[in-house]
């Protein structure tokens, strides 16, 4: 009985030390939510390697009081440049008004958390920290609680109509030791629609939470190319609640990054709701260490809903990919159509893929399935391409793109999907030969 006590004590110490290094904000409409989040964090503590959902990803880099210094990728090539959009820029976690567009868009209310939080009353008061709190069961997500308690910056977005153009949150990093905490709150009102682009690396170490409430019949599209900083340490949490007949779609592209953990908790809460979440991750250990973790939880609590999880990873030179994905179908969530696929392509013998695709089902009239495959490039397909004259390196690149195609297909807008493919091609081209 002595060993676990020591573990608990160590966990408490780590949590305390981490919190001591943060200047916690006070006052404003978020104050009660922050206090609750702090209490939650106190109870659960920061994660340890022995925790079930951290068995393959060591939380040490996130637990450390200070971030490791990481070279900034200041010249990160822009993406979605040609698209008409409204851009909001954060540099090292601080809003850059000069680099941003005027935040005026018909049918969309946009506010900065740091400014809005001076007031006691705000539409976001009921939502800030709420989805994060409900997303803490059954699995604790301590870094999200930490984020709710400590974030001072972020965007509050309320959409009441069909946004004429996408909103673009663009992150930049210029400091080698920036430790960024951002908390965004998004509410898509009944029947409204928004496309949100989220690009780049927020800081040397970053912790980003986005809470998205999609009301009845509303639609939310999220496309997130996570920047190419190789030294990046990043944890993100996407909490969403999808109401009746509403649609939630999120796609993440990860290239490079020594540590990325993308968590998503999606409550499919209204009858007839749709939730799709997809990710494509490419890591080449030659550029620096690469560890990428997708931890996804889809929670079906309504009738006649559909969910899809499509996650693909391409790994090389000692890169590690982790996928932990779960579909929960609660009692009564009949006619659920839940699908999950996690696949990885190991380009050499050093890389590894670790996966735990889970189903937890308490309703009988459902169609749920998952698949997971791991292996090398299909030699037959490679030969077919080469026999048509395509050089080996090009053929491999083409097959990698084809491997990722199902994930990219989850991006509805063809132009935006094209931009993502172009970025992928670019990434592959630089690693050819």
């Amino acid at each position: 009985m002595t060993a676990p006590m020591t573990r608990d004590a160590r966990r408490a110490d780590t949590t305390e030390a981490r919190l001591a290094a943060i200047d916690l904000p006070t006052g404003g409409f978020t104050a009660p939510a922050r206090a609750e989040a702090l209490a939650r964090l106190g109870t659960m503590g920061l994660p340890a390697r022995r925790d079930e959902y951290w068995r393959w990803t060591d939380p040490a880099k996130l637990n450390a009081e200070q971030p490791e210094a990481g070279a900034a990728f200041r010249v990160d090539r822009p993406i979605f440049e040609g698209r008409d959009k409204l851009r909001l820029v954060f540099e090292d976690g601080v809003f850059d008004a000069a680099a941003s567009d005027d935040p005026v868009l018909a049918g969309v209310e946009i506010a900065r958390l740091s400014e809005a939080d001076r007031a006691d009353i705000h539409w976001a008061k009921a939502q800030y920290g709420a989805l994060e709190a409900s997303g803490q069961t059954p699995v604790a997500r301590p870094f999200a609680a930490l984020n709710t308690a400590a974030a001072t910056e972020g965007v509050l977005i309320r959409v009441t109509g069909k946004a004429a153009r996408p909103l673009h949150i663009s992150y930049r990093q210029s400091e080698k030791t920036s430790d960024v905490i951002l908390h965004h709150v998004v509410r898509i009102e009944e029947g409204a629609e928004l496309t949100l682009l989220e690009t780049g690396t927020p800081g040397a170490r970053s912790n980003v939470v986005m809470e998205v409430d999609v009301a009845r019949g509303a639609r939310f599209h999220h496309i997130r190319p996570q920047g190419r900083a190789t030294d990046r340490v990043m944890v993100t949490h996407l909490f969403a609640r999808v109401a009746e007949d509403a649609t939630f779609k999120s796609f993440t592209l990860t290239t490079n990054g020594k540590f990325t953990r993308n968590e998503a908790v999606i409550e499919v809460a209204g009858d007839g709701a749709t939730a799709h979440i997809a990710g494509a991750a490419l890591g080449d250990g030659e550029d620096g260490p690469f560890h990428h973790d997708d931890t996804v939880f889809i929670d079906h609590g309504a009738v006649g809903c559909e969910s899809r999880q499509v996650f693909k990873k391409v790994l090389k030179h000692g890169a590690t990919g982790v996928f932990q994905g779960k579909i929960l179908v609660r009692p009564g969530a009949q006619k659920t159509d839940g699908y999950q696929i996690s696949q990885s392509l190991l380009l050499d013998d050093d890389s590894q893929f670790l996966a735990k695709p889970e189903l937890e089902i308490y309703a009988d009239d459902v169609k749920c399935s998952h698949g997971s495959t791991t292996g090398a490039i299909d030699e037959t397909a490679l030969f077919y391409l080469r026999s048509r004259g395509v050089p080996e390196a090009d053929a491999k690149a083409l097959l990698i793109l084809s491997f990722l195609a199902d994930a990219i297909a989850e991006i509805e807008d063809e132009d935006l999907a094209g931009d993502v493919v172009a970025r992928l091609e670019d990434w592959l081209a630089r690693r050819r030969g």
Binding site: F353, L359, I361, D364, V366, S369, H370, G371, G375
Partner: protein, 525 residues
């Protein structure tokens, strides 16, 4: 799962026990599986739920070093074995009961169990069937063990020479804590096969036991295995010499009879180079309204080019419809394919037990070694099962295949939990996993928790899982041909399990098929 369980609780309270009409009339139509239909027709509740009143010799309740010593002494064990047990017990005291499985059961009081129980009539060997405690004989008869084998199991002198009936299956029966007899010993001996109780093996073949015991499931492998290492009372031992095909199937029947008695049997199978054996295991227990503990360990060592098939039909008492009583079944089974091209096949039909915690595993150490796992797990009423396998690929060109069929009915929870690991050195290896779950009714749960770790790229791992309910079209088709709903469900479920049933030896497959139907009794309606 806070929200989920609250929701479920409400559902439970709202649900009244629904009446159910058993079809009185039976018409077997063309193409209908007669076996299944008849079974459904004859369906009572748990068939093996009787208890035999036999005078027992118990050790004092609870477990401590003295009890461990007593068990060792009763079995006439040498000092090294006693020391081994005591070392395990010392470790066990430091361990915590694992709680990661999706199982919900009240805390087990390890001190309110008996760890040793033996029929008193075993003290002296009976001379003929007349002298055998008739209740013991009746027990075997009810278990469906043939007469001659009943005699042998009862320890009747000279029974080996009596004529055998039907097919030859050598049986070792374990009644509560002790092996009560092994059949066909002489015939096996001619082939060089050793098949006896583990207690006898410890006395008669100490070199083999010392070399292999604990080499697959180490003494302190996990909480339940460690407890077993300390207190196991008996079990079976098998040694197949090199290049020998075991002349008959070997079988063990486990029976828990006494109340408040834990059963801790230990099985050790060694298949030497180039040998083959098929091993069957069956288990039953009487109906009681208090839960009983069962924590067994099975170790299998498979050397170069050898093959072992291990089939289980687990039919421990599952508890009543309200979840009262039943066996808590915590089992550690592991096969070590130590030599190149060694092969193991686990087949299990898990229909009994209130709680099942069981992961028959394969360590694929040898090059081109093979592991297979075929499983049917049925959980009805308030049963909970958390079962699956581990395929640890260490050797090059190793292969594994997992086919798991889980069926949940009533308010049961059924979880597949598995691990597939491709070690960096296990180049060119393959795994294919198929996990299907079937839900019958909207109050049960079906869960899948696979762990996949791939650490080289020349290996290929494929995992597929599906969850669905019994197909309405199939049910309707059967019913339109005259079957009632329960028969139809049993038939469709048997179809769903076909791939696993086919992996079983013939007699077992028949038994398993009827068991599928029996287990689902009361699940429709």
């Amino acid at each position: 799962m806070r929200k989920g369980s609250e929701h479920m609780k409400i559902e439970r309270e709202n649900t009244m026990a629904q009446g159910h009409d058993t079809a009185a009339e039976l018409e077997v139509r063309e193409g209908v599986d007669r076996e299944t239909v008849e079974t459904v027709q004859n369906m009572g509740a748990y068939k093996y739920g009787w208890e035999t009143e036999i005078e027992m010799e118990f050790a004092p309740m609870g477990v401590n070093e003295d009890i461990v010593r007593l068990i060792s002494e009763k079995n006439g064990e040498p000092q090294w074995m006693t020391d081994w047990r005591l070392a395990a017990f010392a470790r066990w005291k430091e361990m915590e009961e694992p709680r990661w499985a999706m199982l919900n059961y009240p805390e087990i009081d390890y001190q309110s169990q008996y760890y040793y129980a033996k029929p008193k009539s075993m003290a002296e060997k009976p001379k003929s069937l007349e002298e055998v405690d008739p209740k013991l004989l009746a027990t075997y008869e009810k278990l469906g063990i043939p007469l001659k084998e009943q005699m042998i199991l009862a320890g009747v002198e000279g029974a080996e020479n009596a004529p055998a009936e039907g097919r030859k299956v050598a049986v070792d029966a374990v009644f509560d804590s002790v092996s009560v007899g092994t059949t066909f010993k002489e015939e096996l001996k001619k082939a060089g096969v050793i098949f006896c109780s583990i207690s006898e093996a410890i006395r008669e073949h100490p070199d083999l036991v010392r070399k292999y015991l604990g080499s697959v499931v180490p003494q302190s492998d996990n909480f339940f295995a460690t407890l077993n290492s300390a207190v196991f009372s008996d079990g079976s031992f098998v040694y197949i010499p090199p290049n020998t095909r075991c002349p008959m199937e070997l079988s063990t029947y486990f029976r828990i009879n006494a109340e408040n008695t834990g059963q801790f049997e230990r099985t050790l199978i060694i298949a030497d180079k180039g040998s083959y054996v098929s091993y069957l295991e069956g288990c039953t227990a009487p109906k009681r309204d208090t839960a009983q503990l069962h924590a067994a360990v099975v170790e299998i060592v498979i050397l170069e080019d050898a093959e072992v098939k291990y089939s289980t039909v687990q039919n421990w008492f599952p508890g009543d419809e309200e979840g009262k009583g039943g066996i808590y079944n915590f089992v550690t089974k592991r096969a070590d394919c130590r030599g190149d091209r060694a092969k193991v096949m686990w087949t299990q039909v898990e229909t009994g037990s209130a709680i099942t915690w069981k992961y028959p595993s394969c360590i694929l150490r040898g090059e081109a070694s093979q592991g297979e796992f075929y499983s049917i797990a049925i959980a009805n009423n308030m049963q909970q099962a958390d079962t699956g396998t581990k395929m640890i690929h260490l050797g090059k060109n190793s292969r594994s295949r997992i086919v798991s069929k889980g069926i949940s009915a009533g308010r049961a929870q059924n979880t597949y939990r598995g691990l597939v690991t491709m070690h960096p050195k296990a180049k060119n290896s393959r795994n294919y996993t198929q996990c299907d779950s079937l839900l019958i009714g909207d109050r049960c749960g079906a869960h899948t928790v696979p762990y996949i770790e791939v650490k080289n790229n020349s290996s290929r791992v494929e995992h597929e899982a599906t969850t669905s309910k019994v197909d309405d079209d199939q049910l309707f088709y059967c019913r339109s041909r005259g079957m009632d709903e329960e028969e139809a469900v049993a038939l469709v479920v048997n179809g769903f399990c076909r791939e696993v049933l086919q992996a079983l030896p013939m007699e077992f497959a028949m038994e398993a098929q009827s068991l599928v139907a029996i287990s689902l009794e009361g699940s429709v309606g």
